[in-house]
Symmetry: C2
Subunit: 302 residues, 2 copies
């Protein structure tokens, strides 16, 4: 059986403003980005919930990429999770205007039996309580990654610490790493996060790349150079999706392959931010991924 | 004749506060850091000015490193340039408290005849008018690098552009690159700076490393990971000094060697910031430099 990536997280409709323009009612959500990114590399299963208002075209986008939707609940009477925000001040920091949880308010992730044997589990950025409930339903995963965000660190710190103690890979951005550890220095913060349980801690630094802290080493990946970032939404989710998809497809958890996975994550995230929503991500070909991966070597080798 | 590095810039006495503490009347100035860093690799000549109050122990530090002081003017009646500042809010951004130009007010760099044949010229961060006057006195340099800062971009923009048009390598930090180009995106800013004349533009990003823009490629160097930064003063000057010293010592201006020079620059700068003033920089051995250089490979290879 080939490995498959199970992705749980939000599926959303977003309104977004950035210096590059404005887009409304577009596909968003951590699980959307992560599953589309993972599906570039490996069979992918999406677990989440949408309302009756969720456009058929977005479901079709998932189907076109052979993303398994057996775990996507559709609550016909409810409304899809909606988020509005802007990046007008700073492309690295979203200002949230509005959040409407909709069907997410009562979401209880339930895995179809066929999903319980998933080997690679990506716990996207949702309430850590839901991440825990999802993980409990998976029988014997090879690799579990979780993402989180400032909201959960503030509201549910203990649950974030609990899920961190149960995963192999924790992914968060530099601001979140400071919030969770109280440490301004990203190097010592990364080491403190490792002490919480994860074998690997990945700290994302946006345009400055990513750092992976492993047992014996630190890996610094640059970001792929871009002349323009239109919409940074979903960069981190795409990173995590590609990271897990690549590892699932290669079935190799060596230190060297984990480094390559970080670079694939950075490469796929670089496409995501080149347009609003998952537009550029969904157009990204495997050839372009390989071409950017090779450019990353040129960028960093000495 | 082996290459030597000519360094012109400020030699100063600093008062500095950072989250790690406070230090007073310590050795500072762009040319001090740059010449000590360069002297790790190649014979170095310091061009600058100090007053009669400049402590003998600092002169002795330069002499101990065989830094040629024939071009260091000592104005016995004047006072050495003094700078006071803190990094209490942000280690990446100094708050200036006081600046006393002292002997620097009337400084006119004059190269001893023996210095006119210098092959590697490092125009440290001073008034671009003085950088131009220094450069005019060098006969036929192989490589000229200039650094600058926000002050000169604001006060003497045209002169900064003039010196940029005459050098091979321009070095500035990310904030300065935005000021000079008006471009928030560091990638397009780097390309615009290349259009001003320099063959290579290096944008320093502090803890996020450095980017070198060359004719056909971009090189991204991470910074050396540090658990603590005590005093960031002089990091950029040490970077430039080590970059030029390494290139002078190898006499190899190939693209690959320029990349290695950037990494040596990052490595030496990482030592500088581990203590106040040039204390840690002056203790840095060539063995430790090589050990950190190898660690940089481990950090970034995939």
């Amino acid at each position: 059986m080939p490995n498959s990536v199970l992705v749980v997280g939000s599926v959303a409709l977003d309104n977004i403003e950035s210096p590059a323009g404005r887009a409304e009612h577009i596909l968003g959500g951590a699980a959307s980005y992560a599953s589309i990114a993972a599906s570039l590399f490996a069979p992918t299963r999406l677990v989440g919930i949408v309302g009756g208002d969720f456009p058929e075209e977005h479901l079709q986008l998932f189907r076109d990429r052979h993303i398994n939707l057996d775990g996507l609940q559709i609550d016909e009477k409810g409304k899809t999770f909606r988020w509005s925000g802007d990046y007008n001040d700073d492309l690295n920091q979203a200002n949230t205007h509005e959040t409407h949880l909709g069907v997410f308010e009562t979401f209880n992730p339930t895995l179809p039996d066929s999903h319980r044997e998933s080997t690679f589990v990506l716990l996207g950025n949702i309430n850590p309580e839901l991440q825990l409930r999802t993980l409990e339903q998976v029988n014997n995963p090879k690799l579990v990654l979780c993402d989180t965000m400032n909201l959960w660190i503030n509201l549910a710190r203990e649950k974030v610490l609990e899920i961190f103690s149960k995963v192999h890979v924790a992914v968060l951005n530099d601001t979140e790493s400071k919030m969770l550890t109280g440490d301004d220095n990203v190097i010592t913060a990364g080491k403190k996060l490792q002490n919480l349980g994860p074998e690997h801690v990945i700290i994302k630094k946006g345009e400055h790349g990513a750092l992976m802290f492993s047992e014996k080493s630190i890996f610094a990946s640059p970001s792929f150079p871009l002349d323009e970032v239109k919409d940074p939404t979903g960069a981190g989710d795409s990173f995590a999706g590609a990271f897990m998809g690549y590892l699932a497809s290669t079935d190799d958890l060596s230190a060297a392959n984990l480094r390559r996975a970080v670079v694939y994550g950075s490469v796929v995230a670089s496409a995501t931010v080149q347009d609003f929503s998952a537009t550029a991500l969904a157009k990204l070909s495997r050839d372009e991924v390989e071409s950017r991966f090779n450019a990353m070597r040129q960028l960093s080798q000495f």
